[in-house]
């Protein structure tokens, strides 16, 4: 064990040296999963901003499974008594952590000074506040009920943009006749869930809230849910044979190349189209899922602040929260990320057509009470329930249920068992 101890000492010395060199101000340690490509570069904007205020950034990126790996690492960190300053989190994970005593920090002071209550939509605040206290700083809002359509394929059908389910089916039929795959879909649980979210929302904003936010058993197992499942079974017939397991971005490529007509996917899909040199409005169109106009299902990335010790660390944490909510960062980050700002008072000048539309829809839906957390993306219900709905929805997509009514019954049972 002698070599082991020796190594530990050299390590300690190395660590000391590295901290000494940047010990100008307190650092923030940030656990997140924006680790690659544009989104990581966008986060660098925040890092630079903090650096200009003399606050160092200790990066702790852990990607995998849409944040699952990061959440696992976080549990280990907290159990070891070594929580980071701030952690990227989604939806109900935030509230689950908030329930643990004394683990999270408090942002009330910054929030009050900057008036967050007035500019951040209430539906987001439901996740950023616990017990009346601000615990997290929301970064963005992704809305998930979008349809991305190849413009040429749509024009070829001779029909306009579909506004309800029947019109959608008409367009899909024409596309099928034209010999392309009408719907580019990736058969992964969360993608199945994203499509189904939209179908449930199309049954009405109130119904969505009753079923996927309030988890009302009558709504979950009822006739409207059966209709939504029947529609899912109908849409399923427009997938190609090889849909299962396909990554969402390969599905986007199918629409980009004209192999497929449309894709149901959140606003991040836009990045794929833009990267391929396509222009919104001329090469592709973005519309709300037919029947969900005026309503928005969202997920929102937030930085949850952990309970750090020491005035210096707390000050650095507050400065980070303030920087996240600054309109300049909100605009700069979200233009890159494809999402829309988490506060509704950011000017839309830098955003493209789809982005402007997304911001307008968000503000409207928020004002009308039609902004709901997405079940498929962990903003409708806690993880156990979300995954229970995945189980049923995925089973339907893979042909394990032949009618909507039995699927709806199974959904109500699965949700009840997971609560």
């Amino acid at each position: 064990m002698r070599g082991f101890k020796g190594l530990k000492m050299t390590m300690a010395a190395a660590l000391l040296a590295s901290t000494a060199s940047m010990a100008v101000a307190e650092d923030v340690e940030v656990l997140h999963w924006w680790t690659a490509g544009g989104e990581a570069a966008a986060l660098n904007v925040l890092k630079e901003d903090l650096a200009s205020k003399g606050i160092g950034w200790v990066d702790m990126p852990v990607a995998g499974g849409g944040g699952e790996a990061a959440m696992t690492a976080l549990r280990a960190r907290v159990t070891a008594g070594d929580a980071p300053t701030a952690v990227q989190m989604l939806g109900f994970d935030i509230l689950d952590w908030a329930k643990e005593d004394g683990v999270l920090g408090n942002l009330d002071e910054v929030a009050a000074a900057e008036g967050w209550d007035a500019v951040i939509p209430a539906a987001l605040q439901a996740f950023s506040k616990y017990d009346g206290h601000w615990i997290a700083a929301p970064v963005n809002v992704h809305s998930t009920n979008w349809v991305w359509i190849n413009k040429a394929a749509l024009d070829a059908t001779g029909l306009g943009e579909p506004t309800n389910f029947d019109e959608l089916v008409a367009v899909l039929d024409k596309m099928k006749e034209a010999g392309i795959t009408p719907i580019a879909h990736g058969g992964q649980a969360w993608q199945d869930g994203t499509v189904f979210d939209a179908l449930v929302l199309a049954q009405g904003s109130d119904f969505y809230k009753a079923a996927f936010v309030d988890l009302d058993p009558a709504a979950l197992g009822g006739a409207q849910m059966a209709t939504a499942f029947d529609q899912l079974l109908k849409l399923r017939t427009y997938f190609d044979d090889n849909f299962s397991g396909r990554d969402w971005n390969l599905a986007s490529s199918m629409v980009i190349n004209g192999e497929a007509g449309m894709q149901f996917m959140g606003d991040w899909a836009k990045g794929e189209f833009l990267k391929a040199g396509k222009v919104p409005g001329t090469d592709f169109v973005c519309i709300r899922f037919p029947g969900t106009q005026g309503s928005v299902t969202f997920n929102s990335d937030q930085f949850v602040m952990f309970n750090v010790q020491g005035e210096g660390k707390k000050a650095a944490q507050a400065a980070m929260a303030s920087a996240i909510e600054s309109p300049t960062f909100q605009a700069a980050f979200n233009v890159v990320k494809g999402s829309v700002p988490a506060r509704t008072d950011v000017p839309d000048t830098d955003f493209d057509d789809c982005g402007k539309k997304g911001m307008k829809d968000l503000a409207e839906a928020s004002a009308n009470g039609a902004l709901h957390g997405s079940m498929a993306h962990g903003h409708g219900a806690p993880a156990a329930v979300k995954n229970a709905t995945y189980d049923v929805i995925t089973a339907v997509v893979n042909g394990e249920y032949s009618d909507g009514a039995s699927a709806a019954t199974a959904l109500a049972d699965a949700v009840a068992a997971a609560q």
Partner: protein, 292 residues
Amino acid sequence: MSAVTQDTSVSTGRVTRAFIYLVLILFALFYLLPLYVMVVNSLKPLPEITGGNMMALPREWTLEAWGSAWSTAQIGVSPTGLKPYFLNSIMMVVPAVALSTMIGAMNGYILTKWRFRGDVWVFGLMLFSCFIPFQIVLIPMARVLGMLGLAGSVPGLILVHLVYGIGFSTLYFRNYYAAFPTELVRAAQIDGAGFFRIFWRILLPVSGPIAVVTIIWQFTNIWNDFLFGASFGGVNQPMTVALNNLVQSSTGVKEYNVHFAGAILAALPTLFVYIVAGRYFVRGLMAGSVKG
């Protein structure tokens, strides 16, 4: 030792030999196929991958993805590529492999040549430890590392890998030494050689092949570990976590060419170990020592 030869004394006919070569080459092709997919696509620009045939040779050859994976791709907020993470991994993997191999060799030696009452139970318990699911280890291990003050440090990671590597290294050495004639150890004892001397002079010189197997196994597992590295690595994240960060973009554009290049780069140290270690796969070491 001059009589030592690489070759088995089994000899085969011409037809059999042709058949053997054919089988060996067919399997080599099978093993190489996915590598072909990876290499070919790492040499294409991205639109050619997503827009075209993923099995085809590149129409436009480019090394851009390799450069990006090595030094400019985003890993977290910094565009560093995988380059800086190699050192983190090496600082962890070298001590962990060396220690677990040495300890495994000693354990195997004791369990076969210095047997005592209940030794089979000790071995059985250590062997069964190979089956512990790492998922159940994570939370209690975090607690222990926190108490030891080793959370988020390289020594902490080394300790974890050591603890869960001992079962395997003991297994390999124990099963290898089991075939070694115990009479030789007894003879040396009678000649007055002690515990360590016997190990050093008699067992260790014949341990080449099994040491290679153990090192290959330990190196591969520790180098490719993600769960422990992500959870206990702190800011000294090892290679695999960085590679994962490179390829697992949540909702961003997936640069497959960079991913493939990165995966091959990340595997190079392990491949290097395979090639170097493979030279010690020699026959007859044991036979040589038996003859004295």
